[in-house]
Amino acid sequence: MSALPWILDGVVALLLIGLAYRLLDTRDLFEATVLYIAFGLTLSLAWVRLGAADLALAEAALGAGVTGALFLNAYQRLARRGEGRTDEESSGLTVVDDRVDEVSPAAALASYGVWGLIAGGLAWVLVTLPARDPILPVLVDAALEDAGVSNPITAVLLNFRAYDTLLEIVVLVAAMVGVWSLDRGSREFARNPADLGDEPILGALSRLVVPLAGLTAVYLTWTGAYATGGAFQAGALAAGAGVLLVAAGFMRPVTSAAPFTRALGVLALVVFTVVGLVSLFWTGLFLDYPPGAEYGLILLVEGALTVSIAVILVELFVDVPAIPEDDPGLRVLDPTGDPLGRVISPDGAFIRGAEEE
């Protein structure tokens, strides 16, 4: 046994701590966003080292990929508020955090010292936890024979603790409804002003990547029954393909306003509930699958989950509220009202173009 794996763990751990520190310490929102993506990728390596390949898949797809795209999306929406403003005081107001108090190095050190003590205490408690013989894995192993699938994680998610997963899809649907109801203004996919023409090469890339991502998603749903994979990872991957399609302009950005997308979004919830009710009549217990039918039912639910998760995640990406041009309190370049192209601040002062007055 060489020391190399420990060095690898050490570098991953230092990278995680360093990235977390820096991304919460910086004032530049874009830097924080990119560092967050890097954090997700590093965390994925940590899952690999901890023997959790399923989590590594989910983290790479969800933690780094889709969350990263969500933050970039929100960043752009927020930053457009500062667009076109030239004065020192107000440009970049919202994407650069100007509410960080300047403190002396000694005070900062003291602050981190206190937090470090708390973290150290937590770590000490965790490290000195009494070692116990595994109980849950033994139970899972014993029950795996009747589970219908041989991947223990899928068995836990969709058989032993299927309630959790049912409620999880409820949370996803709730988030979709929440984001959707926030968007009071335009339902239109806000176009980036820099996006002047279409990008033929992006279309070519989408034609290559999207089918491959779709194929991999199907593959992951299928292998989830007996090996690494599953509906969540597959759904996230399919959502990535959907985001690419929307960004490349191939898919009209259907939002939750469209009945079809709403139906697909709640598909898994409906299928899961129906399966639960059927098994209630069959076996007398909600979500206790009839013996012999476990594999088929789990595969059915997994397929529906993949579709719904993909659709909901794409909607969460598309549906982040656009900032309407006429929103009260919004400082925008007035395209039509002012021939001088002046910028108006909410208190009525002209921010730019006031010299010509």
């Binding site: 969350t67 965790l126 959790d164 900032i323 601040s345």
Partner: protein, 118 residues
């Protein structure tokens, strides 16, 4: 064995850094980032605390829990980002009102002036 210990300590550190960021930063986006990091740290602890199985894999039950947690965290993040954006639009600043310290912009001034000019 020591791999678990390294990631236990890392999880404690990351979750506390995230908590610190959540408490000390006024900007809503950093608060969301802080909560996310806090969650990631706790996920690390959940996976690193139980012993590995003989084959080297992590315990399947916490793995399933964390898998659920990652998805729930993502949907909560999306909703929180949406709310933060709405706050930024309504108040003109991405901070919570009572924290911003300065008076909130009058929400109708700009539209009123534009209407006058048209």
């Amino acid at each position: 064995m020591s791999t678990d210990l390294i990631y236990l300590v890392t999880g404690a550190g990351v979750s506390m850094l995230g908590f610190r960021g959540f408490v000390t930063r006024a900007h809503l986006f950093w608060k969301i980032l802080g909560i996310n990091l806090m969650g990631s740290g706790i996920f690390l602890i959940l996976i690193a605390a139980p012993p590995r199985l003989p084959g080297g894999e992590a315990d399947p039950v916490p793995q399933a829990m964390v898998l659920t947690g990652i998805v729930v965290a993502l949907s909560a993040t999306a909703l929180a980002l949406g709310v933060a954006l709405r706050v930024a639009v309504r108040t003109g600043r991405p901070y919570l009102e009572e924290e911003a310290g300065d008076p909130v912009d009058h929400p109708t001034a700009a539209s009123e002036i534009r209407r006058e000019m048209e």
